[in-house]
């Protein structure tokens, strides 16, 4: 059974500081997806990581994938309030199949 674990599940961040959240998964996969969810809203696709060593950056967020370690990280640089949301990572067993999600990491940014 494919399992996806995220940590931490909650992260209280101070504005301007850097943080990292982690996503581990239990089976081999070359694809990992990061989504953002605001309260009461749908899931917004942030990053698609399709190979070992893949790195993607968008603004203050940078995601990377190590398929050998079965680990992805989402790094936040100089946190700002707008980044407050829940972030999910997800993995599929094969391309186009079901996404298996982690429990999500809820970020809260305070000044």
């Amino acid at each position: 059974e494919l399992k996806v674990e995220q940590n931490p599940l909650f992260l209280s961040m101070q504005e301007g500081k850097n943080y990292t959240i982690y996503c581990n998964y239990s089976t081999t996969s070359d694809r990992l997806y990061w989504y953002r969810q605001d309260p009461g809203k749908s899931l917004e696709s942030l990053f698609v990581l399709l190979s070992n060593g893949a790195v993607k950056q968008e603004g203050r967020l940078m995601a990377s994938l190590d398929t050998k370690a079965r680990l992805s990280t989402l790094h936040i640089t100089a946190a700002v309030h707008d980044l407050s949301a829940t972030y999910f990572c997800a993995v599929d067993k094969q391309a186009g199949t079901a996404l298996i999600f982690g429990k999500g990491t809820t970020l809260s940014v305070s000044s």
Partner: protein
Amino acid sequence: EPEVTQTPSHQVTQMGQEVILRCVPISNHLYFYWYRQILGQKVEFLVSFYNNEISEKSEIFDDQFSVERPDGSNFTLKIRSTKLEDSAMYFCARGGRSYEQYFGPGTRLTVT
């Protein structure tokens, strides 16, 4: 602009009643998915649809659930006899070029 639209946005129903949730793709795609998210919990896969057929389903997708594409465009998720534990957000998603999935706005189902 949403990749798919879903109706209704909120559905309240009594336990034991049947509900039909609808997903309308904006453009023509082959891969579609249904997921649910119980309040405050993780997103769970229900079923996937490829080329108008069920391609994969989870353990959650038991006999009380069914999916159809009745008119060749809209997708429907039917829950035959709702239970309290079916209360959740139900998301439809479509597949993208890099196999990522784009989620619709969701339908909040409340079973009383």
